[in-house]
Amino acid sequence: MRNIFIKILTEKADRDTYLVIGDLGFGIVEPFVKKNPDRFLNAGVAEQNMTGMAAGLALSGFKVFTYSIGNFNTTRCLEQIRNDICYHDLDVTIVSVGPGFMYGSQGYSHHAVQDIALMGSLPNVKLLLPGDSREVEFVMDYIFREQGPKYLRLGRNCEKVFHQESQEVSKINRFGLLADKVGEVALVAASTTLENAFSVAGLLQEKGIAAEVFSCPIIDDDFSDNVRRALDGFKNVFVIEEHISSLGLAAFVRNAFDGREKMIKVFGLKRDSCKVVGNRDYLCEHHEISPSLVAASISKMLNKSRI
């Protein structure tokens, strides 16, 4: 995902595009640097200054990207993002690689599991949560079309493609691939959990439950309308998020249905046991968002409700 991001950025960049990195992106960002050496800065290990500089560049007419991993260009410099970029409504895209537990064994300093809640609460921000490389292409078109602050949560590898070649990508995507009947279960995912959702759908199918997967690569002003329309008719909606439970994608889904009857169950991370460390699979098991545990839980809930 990082590579396709840089490939597209390098293709689309013009003299008004600026990339600022926080001393990360080795082996990734070089194609951009090669093409645009005078529109690139390594700001060093200094994310507050990097983010303030990005605001200054954007004030002067540049479309700016800050690039780092995990929490480094979000929580470390949250006030610069809030005051300098968002309140001034500047055209800066904060690109963070390796969300959720993608850097799981590196320790909790590297677990980006509060980012959607934090970025999503700031004024003017659009959240970009691509789940595969087709969705990266889609959000990159959006970034170059739309002005203003954006947060791009980018999977570290995640090179699988879930969209069929003929399938058009949109702000909410419905994958009917595994469903043999419609309307029983909707699995809503974004970013790194799109792959999990497909695994869950496969496991549910084995149990005779028809589940459809929905992905949400863009959360912007249209999101509530879009998600209500997409999930119309689904009685059981399950949100899977590699983020503190109910404060990430699920918060936006729930807000969209505020005051309307819709069963929305969230599979997310337990806030108070986030110090546990291990690889991504281990941590997904620990937080009970692994595909097998999610599928078992959904199956149990549906069987109960059928009785």
């Binding site: 507050q48 303030g52 990005a54 004030l59 540049f62 300098d84 309140y87």
Partner: protein
Amino acid sequence: MFGKVDEKELLDLARRTRKDVWQMVYSTKSSHVGSAFSIVEILVVLYKLILKNNHKNPDDAERDRLILSKGHACSALYAILAELGYFPKELLDTYAKNNSILMSHVNSEVPGVEFSTGSLGHGLPVSLGMALAAKSRGEAWRTFTILSDGELNEGSNWEAFAMAAHLKMDNLFVIIDCNKLQAFGFTKDVVNLDPLEKKFEAFNWEVMRIDGHDFSELYRAFTVLSNSQSGRPKLIIADTIKGRGVSFIENKLEWHYRWPSDEEYQQGLIELG
């Protein structure tokens, strides 16, 4: 004389600015009058003698930019911008009032204001980004930033000081309003950063230290630094007095917060002339 401007014009503008600020904080019971008074001469010299900008075209792409990083001192900036015609003086009456654009930390919605600040340590990194933008495009405009000495506690500034010198941003000018007081005490007692000049010189900035209330010294420092070919970013340590202009508020910590009583207001007006 300073070019075509005589000293009386500068003195008059400084006096009117302080009187406007005094009125603004009195009528709305606002804080930070001491911080505003310490930068009046710095702003007067910048706007009358140094900055290339024009109130008739505040968005001119070629203008010099000024960011007030110590945004709590904005009453002085608003007063000068009104004096220079960026907006009608009557707007000053709305300072710190409900739904006014003249909020009491500097607001970029006000004509002539480049950037909103409030929380400290933000202005310099943003200014550095602007200076980099000008360099990247080969444009001649310059960026000026006013920081307070208390604000130097913020680590973000030191990230920017290091990077600005690394990038050889000689189109970036920092003025430290060195009034020796911060919100809870004297700067030397909170975090003693002396010797300041040596710190900035060690960071590879070109540094001058002057009396920040003396028009001649300010003008000379800006002129010398503007003409310098050192390739280094420029920094002026302006020694100032917090509350300068009204004797009973000068160098007093409580005037970071207080506003004048009716009696103090009248007494201050007499002193401001």
